[in-house]
Amino acid sequence: MSSLLELDRLSVSYGGMTALSQVSLQVPEGCVVALLGSNGAGKTTTLRTISGLVRPAGGDIRFRGRSIAGLPPHRIAALGVVHVPEGRGIFRSLTVIENLQMASYGRAAAGSHRDIEAAVEMFPVLGRRLNQAAGTLSGGEQQMLALARAFAAEPVLLMLDEISMGLAPAINAQLFATIRSVAERGISMLLIEQYVDAALALADYCYVLEKGRIVDVGEPEDLRHSEALTAAYLGAGVT
């Protein structure tokens, strides 16, 4: 079985409160997997645990068959796991170009000029702001910068946490197209997305999280009418 990433009964707790319990999921090579669920379900915690920012209390995380649970974030990043954290993962006091140069600090292979150029091409706005301090960018521009950085890092596994937050609709549409083309290049993805429709359209598989547990899993078509999914979003807003 060729799962790129595999979570095996992963549990996480913050100061006595259980945030994740027994979460098992798999991201097969070249697949786009979406995590769905309401706010507070534990999606962000899942990503943070995978990338090493949070230490698991139990269970295992395997990347290409090798356990990475408990490794420090930079070691995990060096394997090609690129995480765009929720809420603008940028270095606010660095300039835009410096942010992009940091994309690949741990990996010699990535982050060439060409990569950076390609990333900037994707978001032309950034090209005009290369020497501006990232903290003074508009909210959406900051989000674009975080994404551009991730794309420039030549990821093996891309983990995106609510990337469409604060982006204008036209950019969003373009972004989803980009993600699709990135996926077609064989890059695996694990993403969290509030626009359920968009997520369902993008993903090969979806997992539905509720209160730190996986309550449903399947292909988008099956899930579109899933009760678990509807319930997870409190029956609102899902079409």
């Binding site: 954290p85 606010r92 006091s93 410096e98 741990g106």
Partner: protein
């Protein structure tokens, strides 16, 4: 003129080494390092030991220092400051200050206090670029080395990936990990580079000034102004500023100034520091932008009445025990400690609650003390009037300082108040006519109406009542809308103003009120000390006060009381070299071990509450454990196995 320019250039180069070091450390580690002078001094002594005591050749001693000793020290420093990555500025300032004190003490213990000479590492001899003008090898060497080092650093920081990475780690440690930078390793590199630089600077500066424990710190304080000229991040500007300062110094010296002019001359760096800070204003930003996001302020949730209960209990115990159990000098010490606690309380309100770091509270106390001594020195009956006049002087002074500088935040406000305190030392407290010089002024028999405070017991009650009232006032402030207003200002200035509250008015009111109370505290200190000397109100004492308040608990009223209590260590029979640093060190360790950013006060309150809980409902339900602890590994493992 030319000789003075040459002198100025080489003095400027010495400043430059210091100010570039400050900028380097701040930019790459996020720490404004007061201990920089300590590190530099320590390294200079090590060099002296290697070369002049053990007679190693210079070309062995220097590499040994720069490539072995300094990097080792850098690694140690990194592991210390790593623990502080997420804490607020005042804690970092205090720790780096504590470190400065540690190095000073350490050096004194090992090498003794006597000044020593350190001969230059450059060949002696001089050359003459023009008629009657000589440049020594040392002068030329210092200047060229400073220039080369500054240039090298500039390249490392601005042209290499490591330079970008150090800033990225300072900015947002978690994210740095996510992009693949090993934050610890990058931090170590930064500290190693900055320590090597400090070592080099220490050696250069000590050959200029001699190995004396108090000279280097002063020199480094001088170099804050050029560092701020570069907004703490711009190396070339800091370099230019330092050279300019050196030139200014020596040109003023040319006009052979004396008297008032000389006094002004030595305070130029501090004046420049203050003016630069004010001129830059909001354009000064701190390098740790992620600080707010990680919840810089932890303080809240006033548990209210129970804490008041502790206060009342403490007062009752104090009244019941102290005047009866101890001798006169001890009682007096208690009185003095409580007077300090009154001043410390103002720091809690300012720093802990409003987020304004002040390193000038003892200067305001000094205003109160000297006004009291002047007015009530010969006629004790005028003491109440003296207190009022003290307030009437302190408040306008606080406004003059506050109006331009309260726009500054965090570190920069701390530096501005520091400049103010140093200026007070140089220009006001040093003046014989104001403070009576080294011997000070007398205030022997203060009276309020018929009550005389000549006896220690009377002083004890006076200070106890004052402290209780101040504490109660602060408590009342904290509970109500004003407490919320202070927290607003601390947490989000933008939200504060757009909700309709005035930032400036709030900050200024708090600053003025705190300086008024500090002046009262100063008057009380004058009463308990009988002789008022300037050194008791110098900048150093303000620093010390900040230190003990942070250790005691910067956001707690009890923290201020504990801070005052540290004054009681004078009663302990301790060797002079360690005197108060030993107890402080122990207290600091306790706070660090309990991982309690709110200091000893919180630890104590928590332990006491725990004890009470246990007493109350021992049998009924288990009380929460007193110290925050993660579950022991075994328990965690079991839980995991069960799952």
């Amino acid at each position: 003129m030319l000789p003075f320019i040459i002198l100025g250039l080489s003095a400027g180069a010495a400043y430059a080494l210091a100010s570039i070091g400050i900028v380097l450390t701040y930019k790459t580690t996020g720490i404004f390092n007061f201990a920089y002078a300590g590190v530099a001094m320590f390294c200079a002594y090590v060099f002296w030991q290697l070369r002049d005591r053990w007679h190693l050749t210079q070309w062995l001693a220097l590499p040994l220092l720069l490539l072995v000793v300094a990097p080792l020290l850098g690694v140690i420093l990194e592991s210390l400051f790593r623990l502080l990555a997420a804490t607020t500025v005042e804690v970092q300032i205090v720790v780096s200050l504590g470190l400065l004190a540690f190095f000073t003490t350490f050096v004194t213990i090992i090498w003794g206090g006597n000044p020593r000479l350190l001969t230059s590492i450059f060949p002696s001899g001089k050359f003459s670029p023009a008629h009657d003008v000589y440049v020594t090898g040392d002068q030329a060497g210092t200047f060229l080395l400073a220039l080369a080092m500054a240039g090298g650093l500039y390249v490392v920081l601005n042209r290499t990936r490591l330079g970008t990475a150090t800033r990225a780690v300072v900015d947002n440690r978690d994210l740095a990990g996510l992009v693949g930078a090993n934050a610890n390793a990058v931090g170590q590199s930064a500290w190693i580079i900055s320590t090597i630089f400090a070592a080099m600077a220490g050696v250069m500066l000590s050959t200029e000034e001699g190995l004396v424990t108090y000279v280097l710190p002063a020199l480094v304080f001088f170099s804050f102004a050029p560092a701020v000229l570069g907004r703490l991040v711009n190396l070339p500007l800091a370099f230019v500023g330092a050279i300019g300062l050196g030139l200014l110094d020596s040109i003023l010296a040319k006009y052979n100034s004396s008297g008032t002019l000389a006094k002004i001359e030595t305070s130029i760096p501090y004046l420049a520091l203050f003016l630069l800070l004010v001129a830059y204003g909001r354009r000064l930003t701190e390098v740790r932008s992620s600080l707010r996001a990680t919840g810089g302020s932890r303080v809240v949730v006033h548990t209210g009445w129970r804490n008041l209960g502790w206060g009342v209990a403490a007062i009752i115990i104090a009244v019941a025990v102290v005047p009866h159990a101890f001798g006169a000098s001890t009682i007096q010490a208690f009185a003095q400690a409580m007077a300090y606690a009154v001043v410390a309380l103002t720091l809690v309100v300012l720093t802990g609650w409003t987020g304004q770091i002040s390193i000038a509270q003892m200067s305001f106390a000094g205003i109160g003390a000297f006004v009291a001594a002047h007015i009530a020195g010969t006629n004790g009956g005028l003491f109440p009037l003296a207190v009022l006049v003290g307030i009437a002087v302190a408040v306008p002074v606080s406004l003059v300082i506050g109006i331009p500088s309260l726009r500054l935040s965090g570190l920069f406000l701390a530096l501005a108040t520091m400049a103010f305190a140093l200026l007070m030392d140089k220009l006001v407290f040093a003046s014989n006519s104001i403070t009576g010089g080294l011997t000070g002024l007398n205030l022997t028999a203060a009276k309020i109406g018929p009550l005389s405070f000549a006896s220690p017991t009377a002083q004890f009650y006076l200070c106890l009542i004052a402290l209780s009232l101040a504490g109660l006032g602060a408590f009342w402030l904290r509970q109500g809308p004003i407490g919320r207003r202070l927290q607003m200002v601390r947490d989000s200035p933008n939200a504060t103003v757009t909700l309709g509250a005035s930032l400036t008015a709030t900050k200024l009111a708090v600053f003025a009120a705190c300086s008024a109370v500090a002046a009262i505290g100063g008057a009380l200190l004058a009463v308990t000390q009988a002789t008022v000397v300037p050194s008791n109100f110098s900048f150093d004492t303000s620093l010390e006060l900040l230190l003990v308040v942070v250790v005691g608990g910067r956001s707690l009223i009890s923290g201020a009381v504990i801070a005052g209590g540290f004054d009681l260590v004078q009663l302990l029979p301790l060797p002079a070299a360690v005197d108060k640093y030993l107890p402080l060190g122990i207290a600091f360790s306790v706070v660090a071990i309990a991982r309690e950013p709110d200091g000893l006060g919180r630890v104590m309150v928590r332990q006491l509450s725990y004890a009470l809980d246990v007493l109350y409902r021992r049998a009924r339900r288990p009380a929460s454990p007193p110290l925050r602890r993660t579950a022991p590994r075994l328990v965690r493992q079991k839980a995991a196995n069960r799952a």
